[in-house]
């Protein structure tokens, strides 16, 4: 590997941008593909599939064996609301390799006794969120049930293009929330991005079960192909 390639890989990773190194294992020839260039790459279908799975692997292309080494940023989970569900959600997400942060300005909720070993920020979203550098590789959930906290948090998540945005509340609660967010400048597309009621429909009752439903929904959002991608993959297979 050229030093220049290694330096670029490290720079992209430090910036939390995905990067794939393609190596011809027969002769060591190598090239680096940045996330923004995947769509126009000759191996676009294979590269996007490997990146979505977050998996490195060897493929055959044009009679060559190519190793695709995928460097995807570690996924993060930002939980707004240090509530009972969050106490179950934080350790579950960590076991799935997410970097977890809990935000809640209510110090009675955001206490280390309730959240041992989890980074906690007992501040309002406008103070707590900007330094977190929330990005596309972040799943974002708002579960306080309090519009004063959830609404500004969700507006921040829209801006940062989080791959998953979820908010606790029934359909009725969500309809009211949608009205409030639109009044504050959110678009219909933004509202459509919110998963609400939050979590896959598995009949979850307890906080732990709701946590499972949420992490299952986040996993699906992270790993399942998007509509456009699915079609490309089919064409490739045929």
């Amino acid at each position: 590997m050229k030093l220049e390639t290694l330096t670029q890989v490290n720079a992209e990773r430090a910036a939390r941008r995905p990067v794939i190194v393609v190596t011809d294992v027969a002769n060591g020839d190598q090239r680096l593909v940045k996330a923004k260039d995947i769509a126009t790459d000759p191996l676009s279908a294979e590269l996007s599939k490997q990146l979505r799975m977050g998996k490195s692997g060897t493929i055959e292309s044009g009679g060559k064996k190519l190793f695709l080494n995928v460097y995807a940023p570690t996924a993060r989970l930002v939980i707004v609301g240090a509530v009972h569900i969050s106490q179950a959600l934080a350790p579950l997400a960590r076991s799935l390799d997410y970097d977890v942060t809990v935000v809640d300005p209510r110090t009675a909720f955001a206490s280390p006794e309730r959240f041992p070993d989890v980074p906690l920020i007992a501040e309002w979203p406008d103070v707590a969120l900007p330094p977190l550098n929330v990005d596309h590789y972040t799943a974002f959930v708002a579960v306080t049930h309090d519009p004063k906290i959830d609404d500004p948090a969700l507006l921040h998540a829209f801006e940062r293009d989080c791959f998953y945005i979820g908010a606790l509340g029934s359909r009725k609660t969500h309809a009211k929330r949608a009205e409030r967010l639109k009044a504050q400048g959110a678009s219909d597309a933004d509202i459509a991005r919110i998963h609400a009621p939050i979590g896959l429909s598995i009949g979850a009752v307890s906080p732990s079960e709701i946590a499972v439903a949420i992490m299952a929904e986040i996993t699906a959002e992270l790993r399942l192909p998007k509509e456009g991608e699915k079609q490309t993959a089919k064409v490739q297979a045929a």
């Binding site: 590997m1 050229k2 030093l3 290694l6 330096t7 890989v9 490290n10 990773r13 190596t23 294992v25 002769n27 060591g28 998996k55 490195s56 692997g57 060897t58 190793f67 080494n69 995928v70 460097y71 570690t74």
Partner: protein, 109 residues
Amino acid sequence: MLNRDEDILQAAENWQKAGHGVALATVVETWGSAPRPAGSSLVINDDGTFLGSVSGGCVEGAVVTEALDVIASGKPKMLEFGVADETAWNVGLSCGGTIRVFVEKVGQS
């Protein structure tokens, strides 16, 4: 965090810039129950110092030896370890899997 390969590649860059000969060994294919997935890597410098892993510790010693050769020659190598391989038996994977490890020099032109 070391298990996320982040410090490993940064170490490779730092070692190279400090004037060390450096090799990068990466798991490129696995069959059966391999201990570490494709993409796992080990970096080695010319002191024999290494970071990371390509197995659960079963074959690292052999990879380091080969890596020192690669640092000297500058030519990449493909290594295979597994129970099916006679020569690899001594340093084989006790879990019964097979892995192929690509070893390349860092800083090759």
